[in-house]
């Protein structure tokens, strides 16, 4: 028995769109976008104390770091020959270090190098990690197997020690530091994205997207990836905090960035020799800046988590 064709319904139904047709109401370059983004940022900032403090700290570091040359006229490499280890004064706000360089100028100029390295490294690891995680989660199979085993090896021993070994072995210091931090961050993003994909892969809407003939890449990118964003944003803040910490830890041990380049870890290393004789300022001030920036990122991570998941706490 055949069902009678419902000609009326078939005629009135909209024709099936071709696979890959973009949704009708996406207007990418609306002029109101930046305004909406600013409003969103403001709403986030005022949502909690942590959000406000975290955003303020990070924004302050970004602005001061970008404008360091304008804001602080003292050259971070200038040696004030007669003023070795001069305590904080009106002339040198944070005092001078063992080479007679101005600690304040060095601390401020170090923001650039620490931020640029961390942001670059985390950006690389997000791109690589999310891409690999999407494929591993969606495709599975041997690719996923191999990838996960490699990640096991990478995460099997303390990250800091692996980083030290890599950077010490190579001569290109800044590139090596970026490379190794990205390498250590990639597993985090792979595991996170893969986990998200596994829980979404069989969702009804993904099935629908597949049924209408979307290519796997398109499904991964347009349908699954956007839903992995919230945890990704939280993890980005966490990893930025961690990366800043690793950059300076490496320099502190004496691999990677070296004195006289203004970098917090290197400065703390250089100043550590004078701590026991009471000259605390060459190592305390850069450490304070380092801690403040890491704290800023950590606050942001906590606040974003609360903001996206108000149920918790």
């Amino acid at each position: 028995m055949s069902t009678p064709p419902n000609d009326k319904a078939a005629a009135s139904a909209r024709p099936m769109p071709d696979a890959g047709t973009p949704p009708a109401h996406v207007d990418h370059d609306r002029p109101g976008r930046p305004k909406a983004a600013a409003r969103g940022l403001w709403r986030f900032m005022t949502s909690s104390m942590a959000a406000f403090t975290g955003t303020t700290i990070v924004l302050a570091f970004v602005v001061v770091g970008a404008l360091a040359d304008v804001l602080v006229r003292t050259d971070p490499l200038q040696v004030f020959g007669s003023d070795l280890l001069h305590p904080p004064s009106a002339e040198h706000w944070f005092g001078t270090d063992g080479n007679g360089m101005d600690v304040f100028a060095r601390t401020i100029h170090a923001i650039q190098i620490d931020l640029v390295i961390s942001v670059t490294a985390v950006a690389i690891s997000i791109v690589v990690g999310v891409a690999l995680g999407l494929v591993a989660g969606y495709r599975g199979g041997w690719f996923e197997m191999v990838l996960l085993r490699v990640m096991d090896v990478l995460q099997a021993f303390p990250a800091l020690i692996l980083a030290l070994a890599v950077v010490a072995a190579s001569q290109e210091s800044i590139a090596a530091v970026i490379f190794v931090i990205a390498l250590l961050d990639i597993p985090v993003f792979i595991r996170m994205t893969r986990g998200q994909v596994l829980s979404l892969r069989d969702a009804m809407y993904v099935e629908a997207a597949r049924a209408t003939g979307n290519k796997p890449w398109r499904i991964m990118w347009r349908h699954i990836m956007p839903n992995t964003l919230p945890p990704l944003i939280i993890q980005t803040a966490v990893r930025l905090a961690w990366s800043v910490m690793i950059v300076s830890s490496l320099a502190f041990v004496g691999v990677g960035i070296q004195v006289p380049t203004p970098e917090w870890g290197a400065m703390i290393r250089h100043g550590s020799a004078y701590v026991t004789s009471g000259q605390w300022w060459p190592s305390v001030f850069p450490g304070l800046a380092l801690m403040l920036l890491v704290l800023g990122f950590n606050l942001l991570a906590d606040a974003i988590q609360d903001h996206l998941d108000p149920r918790k706490d």
Partner: protein, 339 residues
């Protein structure tokens, strides 16, 4: 559980083999990635190119990488990890000697961190959103954000330079004191057992600052996790039901803690592996002379054999901790079954 436990242990140990294999290949390649060659360092700054090449040949560095790795692997399988060019001693012997020194420091630090972290975490979670919680949250977040090497320097600046309470950060014990016979290699333990009380007191005074640094900074991480886990279980239906039945507040907290414990033990494992790196750096600051200092100095001096051995031991330690954590969780959590 007897037979199942044996089989599970065997399975985990077998799983370790490919992992350590991977770790060793990775480190082998990584330390040889760059241009820094130990031969150049051994030969000194005035050496000619020929002398350097001679030394390279002697150390086996002129052979191909797979050949070098194969030699290393076959030797390592027999317990020979090569010779350090810095001290000219077998790596295995050096690692074995330094291991207890580091374990003692980490032991004190981590045990302190767990006690401190769990207490703070519970106190914070019980008074969720109250004043105590707010203050503790800020303090823990600040603690999490302090790099351990800077924290160690602050401790020295405060407790040694300003207050003069702590001894100088130069090793494990006052110079000139009689050392106890070697039993475990852990100085505090050895001198207490052998009755060297003056040495024990001095060793305790020396371990206080580095251990306290690890305790405070690692403890902050644990406190953060403990708070989150406790908030979760305190709000769980089981705990709410117990409270509704009229269980005392102390009983409720204990129940919530019991339920959070499996998660917490998992966290302890992860935190411990993080603390290994931090502990290595604090060893450097306090001239502790343990595994961490040995490894970090080997890294900056391109002492390949020591670096390889050091990273291998670190990998083994991490794996052992994860295994212990998993076994503990299986022992206390009836929902978890070893497979």
């Amino acid at each position: 559980m007897g037979k199942g436990l044996g089989r599970y242990l065997l399975y985990r140990i077998l799983l370790l083999i490919p992992l350590l294999f991977g770790v060793s290949i990775l480190t082998f390649l990584l330390v040889r990635l760059g241009d820094s060659s130990p031969a150049v360092m051994v030969a000194g700054p005035t050496a000619t190119l020929e002398q350097i090449e001679d030394i390279e040949a002697e150390m086996g560095l002129d052979r191909s990488l797979p050949e070098q790795y194969w030699t290393w692997l076959t030797n390592a399988a027999q317990g020979d990890l090569g010779t350090s060019w810095m001290s000219n001693r077998p790596v295995t012997e050096e690692l074995w000697e330094k291991l207890p020194i580091t374990l003692e420091l980490i032991g004190f630090g981590i045990v302190g961190a767990i006690i401190f972290g769990v207490i703070i975490g519970i106190a914070s979670a019980v008074r969720q959103r109250g004043l105590v919680d707010q203050v503790l949250r800020i303090v823990t977040l600040a603690g999490v954000s302090i790099p351990i090497f800077w924290g160690a320097l602050l401790m020295i600046a405060f407790f040694f330079t300003v207050l003069g309470w702590a001894p100088a950060p130069l090793g494990r014990v006052e110079r000139g004191l009689e050392l106890p016979p070697h039993i475990t290699g852990m100085l505090v333990f050895d001198s207490l057992v052998s009755g060297y009380y003056a040495t024990a007191m001095s060793a305790l005074a020396h371990i206080a600052l580095p251990a306290l640094t690890i305790t405070l900074i690692t403890g902050a991480t644990i406190a953060k996790q403990a708070r989150a886990a406790m908030v979760e279980t305190l709000g769980s239906p089981a705990v709410r039901y117990a409270r509704a039945c009229g269980m005392s507040e102390r009983g409720v907290v204990w129940l919530a803690f019991r339920n959070a414990l499996p998660d917490l033990i998992g966290f302890f494992g992860i935190t411990f592996s993080l603390a290994l790196g931090g502990a290595a750096i604090s060893e450097l600051i306090f001239s502790w002379g343990g595994l961490g200092q040995l490894g970090l100095e080997a890294i900056t001096n391109a002492d390949f054999a020591v670096v390889q051995g050091f990273i291998l031991v670190m990998g083994l330690l991490t794996a052992a901790i994860y295994l212990i954590a998993d076994l503990l969780v299986a022992a206390i959590d009836p929902r978890v079954k070893l497979q």
